[in-house]
């Protein structure tokens, strides 16, 4: 295999290859791929009625294969260029002892770092190609069978493989959310307590609590006793006790303005009694009928709803492996200093990533390093 190629004498394939592995050509591929990505970022605005925000998920069906293809081509050419240099370094270096340190080790560093980048990018493109994700908003006690996603610009409800239930939410001492997965008609077969950002696998999706919303969601009522301590919060259908020995009440209805005149009210049932109304504008205790349980409605508020992010489950290891390789490659490039060499046919060859090492220029006339 010739070490110094002469255009005109070599085959078309060889000449095409030599042009393609020049850094300028690979750089051009990167520039085009970058331009495609930027076009996606700035032109995907949705419609006036349904704008797509800067941090909302978008699915661009042309951009994923285009960018991935351009980058794949660029990576192949970069590897080819590196391989060419690796081969040529075997011939051009002066002695075997310094060859690895001076030429091959920094190249290896760059290759390893580049491999790390490739891992992370592949993981990201795989995620984008894996199907739409979306959001799910639940209040405590609510169960969902589907989540809201966007497919081809439309909002659709995408079914989940299991019923997803928010059994409890603890927001005081650090947030935690008790969730359960259930098959229809059965009790939850799998339960978990999730912190914010921690996910649970639901079939081929991962669901993670990411925030709270007070806009959607049910009303919840805060109950107290007229005498003594005891407060409870409950939404529709929930049961509560005021104090450890008190009777258990179930909330049958919550009204923001009962009969449009009487203000916030809640209808409770307890034991044999049903249809007990608790009003916020409560008459004095002595005006209440005999035998009525001691429960008052303090206020009605919106129950904070928990927002879950639903995304297709993709493995996370490419990110860790890729990040690790990137760091290792960068570290190798820092440790191994490089040289500027003046080759016999007058070409300068500089392969330095970290020039804070010995930065030496061959003094071609004197034949020694400065």
């Amino acid at each position: 295999m010739p070490t110094h190629l002469q255009p005109g004498r070599d085959s078309l394939v060889e000449r095409t290859w030599q042009t393609a592995v020049r850094p300028e050509f690979v750089g051009l591929l990167f520039l085009v791929a970058g331009a495609v990505s930027l076009v996606v970022a700035f032109t995907t605005g949705g419609t006036a009625a349904d704008p797509v925000g800067w941090i909302d998920a978008v699915r661009i069906d042309f951009a994923i294969p285009t960018t991935a293809g351009l980058l794949g081509g660029a990576v192949i050419l970069l590897v080819g260029a590196a391989w060419d240099r690796w081969r040529r370094s075997e011939v051009d270096s002066e002695s075997g002892a310094s060859e690895w340190r001076n030429r091959r080790l920094p190249l290896a560093g760059g290759l390893i770092g580049g491999l790390g980048v490739v891992f992370v990018l592949v993981g990201w493109f795989a995620l984008l190609s894996a199907g739409p994700g979306g959001e799910l908003t639940l209040t405590t006690g609510e169960t969902a069978e589907s989540f809201q996603g966007r497919v081809a610009g439309e909002n659709v409800a995408i079914m989940l493989p299991y019923r997803f239930q928010l059994e409890g939410a603890e927001l005081e001492e650090g947030a935690s959310f008790d969730v359960g997965l259930a098959k229809p008609g059965n009790d939850p077969f799998r339960r978990a307590t999730l912190g914010p950002g921690r996910s649970i696998a639901v079939g081929e999706y991962r669901v993670a609590p990411v925030g709270l919303s007070t806009e959607s969601g049910q009303l919840q009522a805060v109950f107290t006793k007229s005498e003594g301590e005891g407060t409870a919060v409950a939404t529709l259908g929930e049961s509560f006790r005021l104090g450890p020995d008190g009777p258990e009440f179930k909330v049958d209805a919550i009204e923001e303005n009962y009969l449009d005149t009487m203000g916030p009210a809640a209808r409770l049932s307890s034991g044999e009694m049903s249809g007990v109304w608790a009003f916020q504008r409560t008459p004095k205790p002595e005006h209440l009928p005999e035998g009525r349980p001691d429960v008052q409605l303090e206020r009605i508020e919106k129950a904070p709803a928990v927002v879950f992010r639903v995304s297709p489950a993709v493995p996370m290891w490419p990110v860790f492996v890729g990040g690790g390789l990137l760091v290792v490659g960068f570290a190798i490039s820092l440790i191994a200093p490089e040289r500027v060499r003046l080759l016999e046919h007058g070409e300068y060859r500089v392969d330095s990533f970290n020039e804070a090492g010995r930065f030496a220029v061959d003094d071609a006339e004197n034949g020694r390093e400065t």
Partner: protein, 269 residues
């Protein structure tokens, strides 16, 4: 490992790096790779340890802030390996800028996510530190291009001027390359941040596409300006490359700010 132990150990790496860098500036050049490596370990090791939950922001803000700002600065200090005044001044200025960016990163990270998500805020701080390091390294590259051009204009007949000019040109390319590498580091960090906050490595938002696009454009600009031949087009591209890399990085962060979200992250502020 406790928070205290983690920050002490990582702070130790940073301390080694700082001492080595000072020696480096004052003439002991061989320690420069050590300085850079130590700072690098501090930056990335900090990110990994904090991701794994071995430390959070609230109990130890001061050492964490020092860790991040110093790590960002150390990533660019090897450019100050020689005694050329322009490069030294550039490196000092870059260090101050990186320190400022690192501190701003802490402030931003502490105030932007709502509690109780404050733990992951430090990851965002490290992400900002990597971007700060990338920006300051790329700016060092621009300063080196300026030094190269001035060298050519000012003293074209001097003995050894050509060699000196060539070294400046090669160093400018190195600084730009390091800036691009740090920008690529922000990418897996962004994936980890999304994993911590959203339970998924990414959502494919416009912000992420924008971040990818800027990174690819910077890489492309670096590669287009890679050749160190003496031909006219190669010299023009050598000058344009580092300038384009710095412009891409700074424009990227600026535009992302304008949209109200950190660079390449799908998180609101």
């Amino acid at each position: 490992m406790t928070v205290f132990a983690t920050t002490t150990i990582l702070g130790g790496f940073v301390g080694i790096g700082v001492v080595a860098s000072l020696l480096c500036i004052f003439g002991v050049r061989r320690l420069a790779p050590v300085a850079s490596l130590a700072g690098w370990i501090g930056l990335v090791g900090g990110a990994v340890a904090l991701y794994a939950g071995q430390g959070s922001f609230e109990p130890a803000p001061v050492p964490t802030a020092f860790l991040m700002a110093a790590s960002a600065a150390l990533a660019i200090l090897p450019a100050a390996g020689d005694s050329d005044a322009a490069r030294f001044a550039g490196a000092v200025a870059s260090t101050l800028v990186a320190g400022g960016v690192g501190t701003a990163a802490i402030v931003f990270a502490s105030s932007s996510p709502p509690t109780p998500w404050a733990e992951g805020a430090v990851l965002i701080g490290v992400h900002w530190a990597a971007l700060g390091a990338a920006a300051t390294t790329a700016l060092a590259g621009v300063l080196l291009v300026a030094a190269w051009v001035l060298r050519i204009i000012r003293a074209s007949d001097e003995e050894g001027a050509e060699k000196e000019a060539f070294r400046l040109r090669a160093r400018a390319r190195d600084a730009a390359a390091r800036g691009v590498a740090l920008l690529w580091l922000a990418w897996p960090l962004a994936r980890m941040i999304h994993w911590r906050f959203l339970g998924t490595p990414g959502v494919g938002s416009r912000s992420e596409w924008f971040g990818l696009g800027i990174t690819l454009v910077a890489t492309g600009a670096l590669l287009v300006g890679w050749n160190l031949d003496e031909s006219r087009s190669a010299r023009l591209r050598s000058a344009a490359g580092p300038v384009a890399v710095a412009t891409a990085i700074i424009a990227g962060v600026w535009v992302a700010f304008g949209f109200g979200s950190p660079f390449a992250l799908s998180l609101g502020s």
